[in-house]
Amino acid sequence: MAKDTANELRIVGTRPDRPDGLDKVTGRARYGADISAAGLLHGAVVRSPHAHARIVKIDASKALALSGVKAVVTRDDFPTGLTGEAWDLQENTMAGERALYDGHAVAAVAATSAQLARDAAKLIEVEYEILPHVTDVDAAMAPDAPIIREGAADHSVPDGLHPNVVRYIEFGHGDLEDGFAKADIVREHQYKTEAAHQGYIEPHACMGQMGADGKGEMWVCTQGHWYIRKMCTQVLGLDASQLRVTPSEIGGGFGGKTTIFMEPLSLALSRKAGGRPVKIVMSRSEVLRATGPTASASMDVKIGMTKDGKITAGSATFRMQGGAFAGAPVDMALYCAFAAYKVPALQHVGYDVLANRPKAAAYRAPGSPMAAFAVESLLDEMCNELGLDPLDVRVKNAAQSHETSSFGPKFGVIGLNETLAATQAHPNLSAPLGPNQGRGIASGFWFNHGGDTSVSMALGEDGTVTVSIGTPDIGGSRASMAMMAAETLEIPYDNVRVNIVETGALGVNEPTHGSRATFATGKATVEAAQGMIVEMCKRAAAKWGIEPDAVEWRDGAAHPAGPNAGEYPPMTIGEIGAAMSNTGGPIAGHHESVPAGVGESFGTHVVDVEVDPETGRTTILRYLVVQDAGRAIHPAYVEGQYQGGAVQGIGWALNEEYVYDDMGRLQNPVFLDYRVPVASDLPMIDTVIVEVPNPGHPYGVRGVGETGIAPPLPAVANAVAAATGVRMRHLPITPSKLLAAIKASKNG
């Protein structure tokens, strides 16, 4: 019933106002910190100032002596005996025997005002014994590196590696030696990227309430409230169903709000404070010190290429630290590294390494940007050396639909060829360049994702429709769900209301992550609508006294399927809704699944930069994003994803990085020094939406959120190389680093 050609679509592909637009431009929308409740207490968290230290003693007596201080919790207030990832979550929520990074929570306090809670936190005395620390990934693998946690490695790790190596990844195909032998040139370099933070503008915030009976409520800004429910209850030893989690509006996440940080603390404090609700709002420096960031990476890449630009073989060895816990996205990085190419022989090796830094969280296409930086930079260097056009080389080696991917399985239908062709045709590629200006090109890839999905839909008495979904709206997805529901039901867009409902109201949903919402929740919405159509056709059939399969649905009404079905006037959705009490009761549709048919998305970016040769400052002059969306449900929000991803990548390439001092303390935990791009740093971001429909989605959707952050890192580096003749293999390309490299190249 879903339409599969663009010509038949009435709503998909248009740009209606988003349903939550009014609330969000008037300040009415309620985000994490915008909640209050009777008897509210405010929480504050005491955090380790040390990168690695044994916690000798915690004395909260002075804090508890303050009038208005209601509870203090430490790790002693949490259950013991957890293992695996549940233990990791608990340990990251609240340090046990040792603080593992600067900013690691060691205690929390609840008081009658936020100011008082902050004052009380300062009075909690923690005695530390400072231990040796390591923050750099290569240093953490060195034989003399301090051991962050014994026995943290999983079964994938071969013998003989440092205990800080906790996961080992290895895959590949073909004869590597033969592949390199067939190449005219073989080049190998090391590339590094620094940790970057998701940088959502809304700090983490929640309000938790929990009684002695173990029943709890939570209001929280999150990408996935079922994840919050699962993780909080695991960490606190509670039954999942006893905690009801309601998502607030969310002020950005980019992967960083798919896990827990201080949320269990609010519940633990509440329980200890007699069930009074406890609100915790992180400061920006807490966000930067203790949540988020992505991994830092050290990567060796080797590629063989023939004189005419054919890639014959490649190898990638990636080392990433994701903080004091397993989970650096080195696996995903390797899967993405060569995904845009068909290469006869490939070898991938990865090390997930512990370091005294905060636990890495997902960040937009986790791993893919680092991998793209390494591989796309080296390809660019080799194209330059051989005098080949970098876009031609990408076309020549492009991965193809239904052929084996770099990571093993065959691709489905992919739109890389079309994306490269659209890039080649774009006017930005022929814009003139002046002195100290250069152009860089790079491609990127993301898998996209399905995941647990549950949607329900109900018909109102007037024929309007309510859709209940479980994926928080982080960038306009209410609009795309309403559009797909309206398209399927063939009713006006304004007749659909989409609600993001709490954990008690639907089956389990994975978060809005992996670029899955429009794909997976959208697919389930279409399925639910189709289920509702079946029921509505049944009601009409019963009234008309004909078989349900003699009824068809079009233009928002049931019709007799043909002349043989009989002569009846159409029965509209409004008429069906008005009559439903007397025709069998409420009409609803629902759908639960882990949808298959996730369509991968490729993108290619072209950037022009100018470098001030006297200061090393890079200015972005022009920027183009070309990416396959499968089909854009709401093109304006697809463009928004492309533009936002590109700018995050630009920030990572030029200025964003975690800077640690010799003591392992984060030096830049404020937006003044953690430099996300500001409006005056940027030009307009040009976009081209390529549409090669994904056969796995009723409207052809591919996830679009993530691919766009991968190409900017290498594209910017390639453009800087073109502008200066200097190759920067360590991001970010800060003015200090670039000027030093320019000087070195002149002297060398």
Partner: protein, 159 residues
């Protein structure tokens, strides 16, 4: 800690609240007056999410004490739509999809309004520099800049 009684005007209405001397204007707006449309993103004046105007001047409400608000005229996002009619900037933000998560949006709208009152015909560079203190992590700013310029054009009668 003794609190101080403050009388001031917010969005044209006289209001009173009790401020701890350490509370920022932002704290007072959000916690005392329940005007939560003004957002806290950093508390260091670096993100602009808490932008309001005080006696017509654009400021970060996190960088002003609540007790300083005595006898001032404060305008917040909640006062931007008049009698249920959206300001052209608000309409253009929806129309241009100039918000994704929407968290920075109130601050950007308040800042953009202050710009257009000072300069009804800003060029792209002027808009970008004026809004440099308003971080947006979702949009890459493109649609925000377009929405502000389109709203300016409409307000000038040029659209």
């Amino acid at each position: 800690m003794s609190k101080i009684h403050i009388t001031t005007k917010v969005n044209g209405e006289e209001v009173e609240f009790l401020a701890d001397p350490r509370d920022t204007l932002l704290d007072c707006l959000r916690d005392q007056l329940e005007l939560t449309g003004t957002k806290e993103g950093c508390s260091t004046g670096d993100c602009g999410a808490c932008s309001v105007t005080v006696d017509g001047t654009l400021v970060c409400s996190c960088l002003m004490l609540g007790v300083e608000a005595q006898d001032k005229q404060i305008e917040t996002i909640e006062g931007m739509a008049q009698d249920g009619e959206l300001h052209p900037l608000q309409r253009k933000f929806i129309e241009h999809a100039a918000l994704q998560c929407g968290f920075c949006t109130p601050g950007i709208l308040v800042a953009a309004k202050a710009l257009l009152e000072k300069n009804p015909d800003p060029n792209e560079t002027e808009v970008r520099y004026w809004l440099a203190g308003n971080l947006c992590r979702c949009t890459g700013y493109d649609k925000i800049i377009r929405a502000v310029m389109d709203a300016a054009a409409e307000m000038r009668g040029a659209a």
